[in-house]
């Protein structure tokens, strides 16, 4: 029987899109059809997308929601129709829902916060940190920030002097950094919540001759456009989190359940945290590519042995 899965994506931006591509890549290998519906950042459309997929009677559903409650609604609707559901990037919230979902797939934002704090403490002890967040209301930002603050305090080597909202807009991030510097904050380490914003800040700092003199930048995501900056030493440290691989794993989690390989529910699957530095930069197994890449198969086998059987069954 031809399996059909449904995928609800919040919008067309890079991160979400790479997640879809990863999911589709795995689906292609497994010979499963996928219907992708785009919510265009509209909560009501998202709900209607969920309903549309339920009406279509898909065999499984994956939802990536920008509304924290979206997965709960999906859980309710799919449970009613008996459709298995996996949820991407919800920081595990949905596992508390009444209705059981198959799995929540996430990056370990908490571990990332700790990891960055540790790197900074180890390499630049005694220096002050400024932090340019993504949207402060974004859950991963909050989880990361909480862990980061706690770890910095625990290690006691550094101090966070300012937190600003870059809103994921590079232009805004530059503005915030400019203002931070001019308003007399004393900091030499700048953590920026993604490499899009970091790239713009790097460009500006360079033009002002402040980059690595004294301001050093750390970032996260390991996005393709961040890699060049790490290679040239403009970004000192980053953490790899490939949405493509996340999508890939999301598919496997769903597929394993639908095909009866793994019948467990409420699984919390966290993707490993891999540091990105000048040394690891060329190692695809450490800096996981965002774009479709067979290395994902290898990585999956290494970090998620439970799927080995399933992967071997793929074409």
């Amino acid at each position: 029987k031809q399996l059909v899965y449904g995928y609800v994506t919040p919008g067309p931006d890079t991160w979400y899109r790479k997640d879809v591509e990863g999911f589709l890549y795995a689906a292609k290998l497994a010979g499963v059809k996928v219907v992708v519906l785009n919510s265009d950042y509209d909560v009501e459309k998202e709900i209607s997308n969920i309903k549309t997929l339920v009406d279509m009677g898909v065999d499984g559903m994956c939802i990536f929601s920008f509304n924290p409650n979206g997965p709960f609604i999906a859980a309710r609707e799919t449970a009613r129709a008996g459709i298995p559901l996996v949820v991407t990037d919800n920081v595990g919230q949905v596992l508390k829902a009444k209705e059981p979902v198959v799995a929540a797939i996430d990056f370990d934002w908490d571990a990332m916060g700790k990891n960055i704090a540790q790197y900074i403490a180890k390499h630049w002890p005694g220096e002050n940190i400024a932090f340019i967040a993504g949207r402060l209301e974004h859950v991963p930002v909050q989880v990361f920030l909480k862990a980061f603050k706690a770890e910095v305090a625990k290690l006691g080597k550094n101090k966070i002097v300012a937190i600003r909202d870059g809103k994921y807009i590079p232009d805004e991030a530059v503005r915030q950094v400019q203002d931070l510097i001019e308003s007399g904050y004393d900091f030499t380490v700048l953590h920026i919540f993604n490499e899009e914003m970091a790239a713009a800040v790097v460009r500006w700092l360079k033009s002002r001759n402040l980059l690595n003199n004294p301001i050093k930048i750390t970032s996260q995501n390991g996005a393709p456009y961040g890699i060049a900056l790490i290679k040239e030493g403009s970004i000192k440290y980053s953490i790899s989190s490939s949405p493509g691989w996340e999508g890939f794993i999301s598919f496997l989690a769903l597929h394993a359940y639908v095909t009866g390989k793994i019948k467990k529910e409420r699984q919390w699957i966290l993707l490993p945290v891999t540091p990105v530095t000048e040394e690891t930069i060329n190692d695809k197994t450490k800096v996981v590519p965002w774009d479709v890449d067979p290395v994902w198969i290898e990585l999956t086998k290494k970090y998620f042995p439970q799927y080995i059987g399933l992967i071997d069954a793929l074409k």
Binding site: V36, V43, I47, K51, D55, I73, L136
Partner: protein
């Protein structure tokens, strides 16, 4: 004067097929038929209900916006007003406040916010666009400050308003929307306030000369708008079960878009609620059709824009028919 026949001017009823709403309807029907013939699931009851359900909140907001725009003002803070109200309501629901009080607070807060915009506009003699732009930030900022940016989930509670299906299929929220359209239509067509709204928007000097209080009329409209925002906010909250400061952002643009596409003039004084309803419906049908037609999700936005422009193009015919 003897000998001369009196001047007689009769109302020339424009035939229905030359009115703008008719062409909007034609655009919608064509789109529906095309979509339905490609994907017959479009015409299933489930899908139809889906569309109605989806546009109920927007419809309520657009009704309020119609009133505001008819008086010649505009309020671009309605989306964040809704977001703030949703956040506060969600927090109250989480702390188990009785539903009655939640409803009171939600309506009261929405009205207060809307009145703040109205009062400042009138007191400062400033354009409401910029006043409401300021309040847009204030409302979202307040929501942000009180929630600390953390989203407020009310999972499982407060579900009646948004999730009830009458007779098992008809969304209560759409019924509420429908009632609102009818009330606003009645208000505009049959009441004094309705006359005053048109007069103030079309020619405020004439209204002033006629002894109408422009300030009072506008404040009343902002008051009603506030009530509708409060209502919309509760329905949305009930539907999505969570609120965060960005909830509702961008809805102002959609609401204004629906009002304008429905034929209401941004300069005020001209328009009606039937047009707004059709404008809202158009948006709902387009966004549903994009999925039904299985448009590549990454091209949906372009196609959405093109559909809107085509719908405008179709209404060129209405101008043509008016003349011919």
């Amino acid at each position: 004067m003897e000998g001369r026949e009196k001047v007689v001017i009769e109302k020339s009823k424009r035939p229905f097929y030359s009115t703008q709403w008719f062409f909007l309807l034609v655009a919608e029907a064509s789109l529906a038929i095309i979509t339905g013939s490609i994907n017959p699931r479009f015409f299933t009851l489930n899908n139809m209900v889906n569309i109605l359900d989806q546009i109920s909140v927007l419809g309520i907001l657009a009704s309020g916006m119609t009133l505001i725009i008819l008086t010649g003002e505009i309020d671009i803070s309605i989306g964040t007003n809704l977001g703030l109200v949703a956040c506060v309501s969600a927090m109250l629901i989480k702390s188990e406040v009785p539903t009655f009080w939640i409803v009171m607070v939600a309506l009261g807060l929405a009205v207060l916010n809307s009145m703040l915009v109205g009062i400042s506009t009138i007191a400062f003699k400033a354009p409401s666009f910029i006043v409401s732009l300021g309040f847009l930030s204030v409302f979202r900022g307040t929501a942000f400050a009180i929630t600390k940016g953390v989203f407020q989930t009310i999972y499982g509670k407060f579900e009646t308003l948004g999730l009830t299906r009458l007779w098992g299929w008809f969304p209560l929220s759409f019924l509420i929307g429908l009632v609102i359209y009818i009330i606003v239509d009645f208000l505009l067509r049959f009441t004094r306030l309705g006359r005053h709204i048109y007069a103030v928007g079309s020619n405020s000097l004439a209204a002033f000369y006629s002894g109408i209080s422009i300030a009072k009329t506008k404040l009343l409209v902002f008051f009603i708008n506030g009530l509708l925002i409060g209502l919309a906010s509760m329905i949305l909250l009930s539907k999505i079960g969570a609120a965060q400061p960005t909830t509702g952002s961008g809805m102002e643009l959609k609401a204004i878009g629906a009002v304008v596409i429905g034929g209401t003039a941004l300069t005020g004084g001209r328009g009606n609620i039937l047009g707004t309803f059709l404008g809202v419906l158009l948006m709902g049908i387009i966004s549903n059709s994009l999925n039904m037609l299985r448009i590549n999700p990454y091209f949906q936005e372009v196609v959405f824009g093109i559909f809107i422009i085509i719908a405008l193009g179709v209404s060129v015919f209405s101008a043509y028919f008016k003349k011919g």
